[in-house]
Structure formats: structure tokens, C-alpha cells
Amino acid sequence: MELFLYTALFSPLVGSLFAALFATSKKTKIAGIVPSALLGISLISSFILLISVLTTKETVHVELMTWMATGNLYIPFGFVVDQVSVTMMMVVTLVSTVVHVYAIGYMDHDKGFNRFFSWLSAFVFSMMVLVMSDNFAGLFIGWEGVGLCSWGLIGFWYHKESATWAANEAFIMNRIADLGMLIGIFLVYWNTGTLQYEQAFAVMPSLEIDVLTWIGIFLFIGAMGKSAQFPLHTWLADAMEGPTPVSALIHAATMVTAGVYLVVRASPLYDLIPSVGLFIASLGAFVALFAASMALVNRDMKRIIAYSTLSQLGYMFVAAGLGAYWVALFHLMAHAFFKALLFLGAGNVMHAMHDELDPFKMGGLRKVMKGTFVMMTIASVALAGIFPLAGFFSKDLILEVAFVENHYIIYCVLLFTAGLTAFYSFRLVALIFHGEERYKLFGIHPHEAYKFMLIAMSPLLLLAIIAGSFKLSYFEMITNLLPAIEYHIHHPVTYWIMTIGTQLFVGLSILYAYKKYTSRDIKVPDGTSKMENSFGYKLLINQYYIPRFYEEYIVKAYRELSDIFWTKIDQKVVDATVDGIANVFYQTGERTRVMQSGNLSTMLKWMVAGTVALLSLAVVFGLAARYSGEMKTFLSGLGV
């Protein structure tokens, strides 16, 4: 099994390095095919590990080598394949294999083709390190690695000002959160004396509750950054500047779910501090609603899906915060499939529309893009949570969790958000694929994507449909490791009312969206309609003015402060000190260079002066050494 573990872990790295060899040369297909094939191998290895974990219920634990060993600190490069990490490995390798194959078609005309695959495979490797590590230090390496690769991929088209800006924004926001995470890790080490998950969690029940609370809070701050939870959420929507496969892989399926993974991984810790868990759940519910509301009015196809991702991450945090870790992980898995599918579909549409992102400028695309239309519709149905697709099983389960745990406010918020989710998803589908063919006004001739891209997407389609049926077997597997709590509403009448009620509510939202956005009088908004000038619309389209708030009150203030530090402290204190020291030497040199007159006679005089000086010193020290005893008695006689 160790062999499969190492294969699964390192083949993406090999793929990345292989593609990197061609980084500066011209586009070659092989730089895309080899990493994809290697990822396929990684996927197969992960699958074998999954089967092994499923059948034997045993985890694989290896230690590659010692990384740090000083004093009491011992951190190995250790990897573990247990029920939780194997789930993540399957999700990561599956989605990334699909995305890699898809990207061969998507990036076909891009000059940076080779570089793209190098970054993308490097990302997968970092993500694998993140999920497979058996200690916090390894997790942190992966954590930073995915952050770095995300930076490189968001800013992939670095000649675009907006792309580099978004890349930096994402990176800096994540740095802020990473500081919290790092403090959390330090606290873990400080209090438990180890960073290995097993040992650290074993010690935790004996620690004071205050300490545990702080650890929980700081680790969650790290999770908030990666999973773009409020108030560190703005980077996710801006990250859509990157190529669409990147959005599908990193900003929908894998990296942004790392925060959820962290909370699930640290479940023994969060079980001890239910108050922090409740905070996580409340924040999750808030973000679910908050992000969904912004998706309602947005006019950028990718941003709508990004907000939807944010909203679904909120759902996952609700489940994780309420202690239903396996539900969170299950929704993470299902969400990865249908959301990646949705993004890849959006990528097809973008290609067809020559990078046009405004769905109001599309319409009626179903006639030319049948495959994409079917896939995106099914993905949206799954996202909305209609029976019997994946979303129904995972998302409704979270609603049930909230209900069973008696958090009715959270339940109502999530229920309402489910309606919003259905509405904005189908608003998007209706605007893109139905109604008038508005794109003709802009002289665009759309075309369907390559066939192999659609075939590459089909595993995701299949999983988006059937993932829900894994629920029972998944529950059986994962609860070997995580707390086995079944969330059943005891009264069957309540259960059926709730389920059917939710389905009806979601269904009505979908119908409303269809009715509203397939009509013939949809025009490209020009900012004159009554709705567009209403306060609510303005608030939502400007993302609650949060980016502007950050810009005005944080970025500008920080810039001012930096300016002061630059002109006052750096230039006047630091630079002045350094320049002063340099000046002393310079001046000394300038003054003493007259000695080097070149006149032998003068030099000889200096030489004599030097000899005399050294001789006198020798005499003085000699006398001092000789009479030190007498000097001491003399000085003590004086009373010194």
C-alpha cells in the first residue's frame, strides 16, 4: 500500500516538473498530456487506497523521512491515508484529472500552455501534501503551496493588470489568515508538545478549555482565509480572473474546501469546544445567505458561480460547526463534482462567446451547445438540491442537521438560501441557454467545445447525478474515524413535510427564475430600469460596498501609514544610521589618504612613527603586567 501512497502523492510533482522543462519553449501537446496521464495514475492509486481502506478499515501511515529533530521537537515528513484523507484524495485527483484533460482543449490557443500545466500539477501536489500529511507542519506546507500555486494561476495572464491585482489580493488575504493559522499551530505545539495529529488530539482533552478555545479560534482563522469566509471573502470573486479550469479546480472543488477539511481534521478539538463550533456554524449560515444574495444580481457568469461556491462553503461550515463532520465532508465531495462541472460548462460558454461573461448578452445558446446545456442544467439541478441528484442528499442533510440540533434560526436561513440558490442558478441557465438569441446583436458566432472536452467532463456529470447514492456506504466508512451521528428527524410526518416542503420551495424558485428570465423582453441592462436604481440592487451589485470599504479604510490607511514609515522612519532613521556609518569610514579614508603621498620619505617617517607607537605600547603593557600586583594594592589602598 505504501507504494500506492507514494505514487498518488508524487506523480503530480513529476508531472509538474516535466511540464516545467518546457516552460519557456513553444507550446507542445506533450506538456499537457504527460501531466494528465500522471494524474490519471495518481487517481488510480488513490482509488486502490480507497478500496483498501473500505475493505480492511485499516489506515496506511508512513514516514518518508525525518524533517526536523531538535531537542523535543520532532517533525517527520509523515503521511497518512485514513477515511478522511482518502475522501479528499479521491475528490482532488478525480477533479484535477478531469480538469487537466479539459484544459488541454481549453488552453489550446494559449501561449502559456506548458507553464499552465506546470502550475496546475504543482497545485495538485501541494493539495495532496495538505490532505495526506499526518501533522500540522506538513499541512501548513501544503497550505502555503496551494496558496502559491493559486497565486500563480489567478495571475496566469500576468499581462492583464486586473489578473495580477486579483492574484496579489488573494495571496495577501491568505497571508493574513495564515498568520492566525500559524499562531494556532504554535499554540498546539506549545500546549501539547507535538504536532502529530494523533498525539496532539490525544492530549487535548486534558487541557484547559480557554487554551483549547484559542487554538480553535486561531486555526479557524486560517480556515476562514482559505475558504474565503466573511470578512476575508472578497478575494474569491476576484480570483475569477484566472483561466476557467483553474476556477473549477482550485476555487470550487479543492483549495477553498481546505478550510472545511481542516475543521473536520481537527474534529477532536472542535468537539471539546462547542461554543466555537456554534460560532463557525453561525458564520457559515451568514456567509451562505450573504454570498447567495450577491449572486442574485451579478452580471458576470463566473462571479455568480463563485458566489455560489462561497455560499455552499457556508453550508459545509454549518455542518462542521454543528459537529456533523461527516455531513460536511459529504457535501464537500458532492459539491466538488457538480460545481466543477458547472465551472467547466461556463468555460465552454466563455469560449463559445469569445470571453464574454455577461449572461445578458447570451441567450438561446442551447441550440448550438447541446452538450454544455445538458451538463450545466444537470449541475444546476444538483446544486439546487432536487431529488435524486447529489445536492439533494448532501444539502438537505445539512438542513436536517440544523433542525435536529435545534438551531432553528440557522435552519431557516439555510432553507431560504436554498431557495436563493435555486433562483440564481437557474437565472444563469435561463439567461445563457434560453430566450432570445441576444448574442447576435454583438456579432458573435458561438460554437460547441471540442468533443474530448465534453467527454472529459462526463465523469463529473455522472457523479453529480449518482453521488447521493453513496451516502450510506460513505457513512459506514467515514464513521470509523469521525463521530457517528445519524441525523434523522424522528417524526416521519415532520420529515416528509420538511423534505417535500423544501423540494417545493426550491422547485418554485426554479420556475420563477425560468419565467422571469426566459421571456422575450429581456434586454441587456443599461442602468436605466427601475430595479437597477433601487437601493437593494445597488447594495448587492456593489457587494455590500465591502470591497470599497476595504479600499477606502484599510488599503488607503495602510498606504498612508506605509508612506509615513517610509519617509519618516526608513529614510530619516534607518537610512541615516546606515549612511552615517558608511560616512565615518569614507571620511576616515578621505582624511588618511594624504598619508599615501607616494613620497618614500614621508612613508618612512610614518613607519618610524608606527614602530615607536608599537614599542611604547609594548613597554606600557610590559610594565603593567609586571607591576599589576603592586597596582592592585595601590588602588585598594585608595579605596577604589
Binding site: 589618504r593 598619508m595 599615501q596 607616494g598 613620497n599 618614500l600 620619505s601 618612512l604 617617517k605 618610524v608
Partner: protein, 101 residues
């Protein structure tokens, strides 16, 4: 009055001082060599005197070495001096300032 170690050392010191003044004051390169020789030989006198005083031959051996090295040094130095004189037609120290910093 018997001549003892102190007399030799005083002589050596006087010679050394004379040599030192010569090194500092002389502008003629040839004179400078003479001054150097005086310096070296003043040291030789003290070597020989102290060696005799202690009955240890090491000092006298050292004096021989100094003489040998001084001879070779003077040979090289005089060679350079002659070349310099041929080229510039003087051996004034003040005219040699090509090593000006």
C-alpha cells in the same frame, strides 16, 4: 673602567637613533641605504653583546644572518638604484612618487 654589557647597549641605542634620524631626514637614496645599514648593525651589536653576556651563541648566529640578508638586500637595492639613476638621472627621494594614493 671595565667595559660591560651596558656600554654596548648604549652604543647600540645611539647608533640606532642615528640610523633612525638618517632614515627620516635623508633625501638621497644612497644615504638612506647607509642609514639602514647603521640601523641593522646597531641591532647586530646588541645581539652579539647580549649573546656574549648570556654565553649563548644563538644571538651571534642571528647577527650573522642579519649581515647576510643585509648584504643581499643592499645588492638588490643598489642594482635598482643604478637602474633608476640611469633612467632619471637623479636619486632624489622626493622625485619618486609614483605610488601616490
Amino acid at each position: 673602567m671595565e667595559i660591560g654589557l651596558n656600554h654596548y647597549l648604549v652604543l647600540s641605542t645611539i647608533l640606532f637613533a642615528i640610523g633612525l634620524v638618517g632614515v627620516m631626514r635623508r633625501k638621497n637614496l644612497l644615504m638612506l641605504f647607509f642609514a639602514t645599514e647603521i640601523l641593522l648593525n646597531s641591532v647586530n651589536i646588541s645581539f652579539a653583546a647580549i649573546s656574549h653576556y648570556y654565553g649563548d651563541l644563538t644571538g651571534q648566529m642571528f647577527a650573522f644572518f642579519v649581515i647576510a640578508i643585509a648584504a643581499s638586500e643592499v645588492a638588490v637595492g643598489l642594482g635598482l638604484l643604478i637602474v633608476w639613476h640611469k633612467k632619471h638621472n637623479n636619486i632624489d627621494l622626493d622625485s619618486m612618487s609614483t605610488m601616490r594614493g
